[in-house]
Amino acid sequence: MRVFAKGHRNRRGRSAACLLLAGLVCLLVGGAERAAAQDVEELLTQVGEDYAVAYSSPFLYSFGPNANSNMYSTAHIPWTRIVFGIGVKGMTTQLNETDQTFSKVIENVDLGAYDPALAGQFGDVFMSGPTIFGSTSTNGRVQGFYNGVEVFNAETIPGLVDSRWSPLVAPEAYVGGVFGLKATVRYLPEIDTGSYGKTKYFGYGLQWNVNGILKNLPVDIMAGFFTQELDVGTIYQSEASTYFAAVSKSFTMLTVYGGLAAEDSKMDVAYEFIHPSDPTLNSDVNFSIDGIQTSRFTLGVTLDFLAKLNVEAGFGNKLTSYSAGLMFGL
């Protein structure tokens, strides 16, 4: 059968795993990355593709909105004065309460796809249980039905971390101030997670302020783009990109800003499904999920006192994200 077996992860391990899954928090907690990669790998290898897609969906779909958050904290970029900064950005998306569980139906399917012994029997398969952000003490379940009667019932895996918040943390640096241009990078050095591959993160983007040409505007106006890639071991490979335009107005130490963005994201998932009793039924699982968010409206405020501290809300066409940044520099 392609979906069963219990997962046995401890809560601390799951929490660490989620942080890694969420992106880059592993840098902050240090040393958790290996256990984290093993956590998610070991859980996913116990289920097939259909289950994995549904189970991972809150993470798969919140990654893009998180990654494309906090792209700027002001639209002001000098034309003749060098600016630079380094710091950290934190983003989070609050999941709908129902996203802690899922239920997925596959109707009129050859049950042999789940167990060769059932080949030729067409019935319905019902998968349900906690998602990756669901209960860590409750296992999921896969049930097969033929002619209105349950013909198999298998326990699957628990949630990885019990939370309604999907977080992401990204170190960031920028330099600019020539002709209104500013280059930004987000980067983490590669972290080797042993047999599960390397975790790495890199993103870059460019912003341009138009006030050097359109003088005497009451506000600063800026446009830019940012693209980034995040790989979590050999399991998740993700991309996100955004194109945005923003305005801001500064008042002594305070800057208010807002903007519009077009964005997209994509995540590839690959792992080996390991059958609990029959190694000949092991199989490679590969699938790709496109993000569901394509646009957002951002509002934020930046406090410039010793460092630049900004908070913002990103109202996307699908998800609302919240983020904050702390940058040191000029």
């Binding site: 997925k104 139906v105 319905d124 019902f126 198999f152 509002l299 609302t320």
Partner: protein
């Protein structure tokens, strides 16, 4: 030094932009995100599938029902129990009375009335084999049977009902004058009304190894009481 004078009200107005836009955005999109995890409903059942469920209950009735009249025990107790093994497995409890329902407790041989029931949380289990597959059906019973010791063989007329559950699917059933005799696996008369997944259907027993099932829409089926197998009948019976 160049010095420009600006009215402060322009700054104050600009400051108002942020909260105004924020309130507007919240009003437009709200703070709560839509669900992104699939939330599919359990597949709806067809009338054929519900008829199949009723078939299994009819088969179980032929196994469980006769215990109302066949059960024997030497000891004088207020409550007895009987353990089924095989396709229908589990324990039922029997309370015997003389003087009808609400009468005085009696031994099985003296009684003219019996309550046969499954305990809370301990349903009977049918193991369903479909070409080597195994699944389970959970049944609860609450039979109320009048016993006729004068008949030959002894007979019980069963009323009451029970519940059916298989995975997320649930149904209920009611017995109406189902007659079972000592030594026979097939009820000789009476009906069972099975209600599940929006369908209501009636199973009629007639003493042989099959029972007739008729849906509210007039579809007819034949139930093999030995196996629970249901086949559609071409002509309503």
């Amino acid at each position: 030094m160049k010095h420009t004078h600006r009215s402060p009200w322009r700054d104050y107005l600009t400051l108002l932009i942020l909260p105004t836009l924020l309130i507007g955005a919240l009003a437009l999109g709200g703070c709560s995100n839509d669900s992104v995890a699939p939330q599919d409903e359990v597949p709806a059942l067809s009338v054929d599938e519900v008829a199949n469920q009723a078939g299994w209950v009819a088969m179980a009735t032929g196994i469980v029902g006769p215990q109302t009249v066949e059960f024997t025990a030497k000891s004088d107790k207020n409550s007895y129990e009987y353990a089924f093994t095989g396709n229908v497995a589990g324990v039922v409890h029997l309370d015997f009375f003389s003087g009808g329902a609400g009468g005085t407790s009696a031994t099985p041989s003296e009684a003219d009335y019996v309550d046969l029931y499954t305990a809370d949380g301990a349903p009977l289990v049918i193991t369903v084999g479909i070409e080597g597959l195994e699944g389970t059906i959970l049944l609860t019973f609450a039979m109320a049977a009048d016993l006729d010791r004068a008949a030959d063989p002894d007979e019980a007329t069963i009323n009451g009902g029970g519940t059916f559950a298989s995975g997320p699917y649930a149904a209920s059933f009611e017995f109406n004058g189902v007659v079972v005799g000592n030594g026979s696996s097939y009820p000789s008369a009476g009906t069972m009304v099975f209600t599940g997944s929006g369908f209501v259907m009636t199973v009629t027993f007639d003493g042989d190894n099959t029972a007739n099932l008729l849906t509210g829409d007039g579809q007819a089926y034949t139930i093999d009481l030995d196996t629970g197998e249901v086949t559609e009948a071409l002509v309503p019976q």
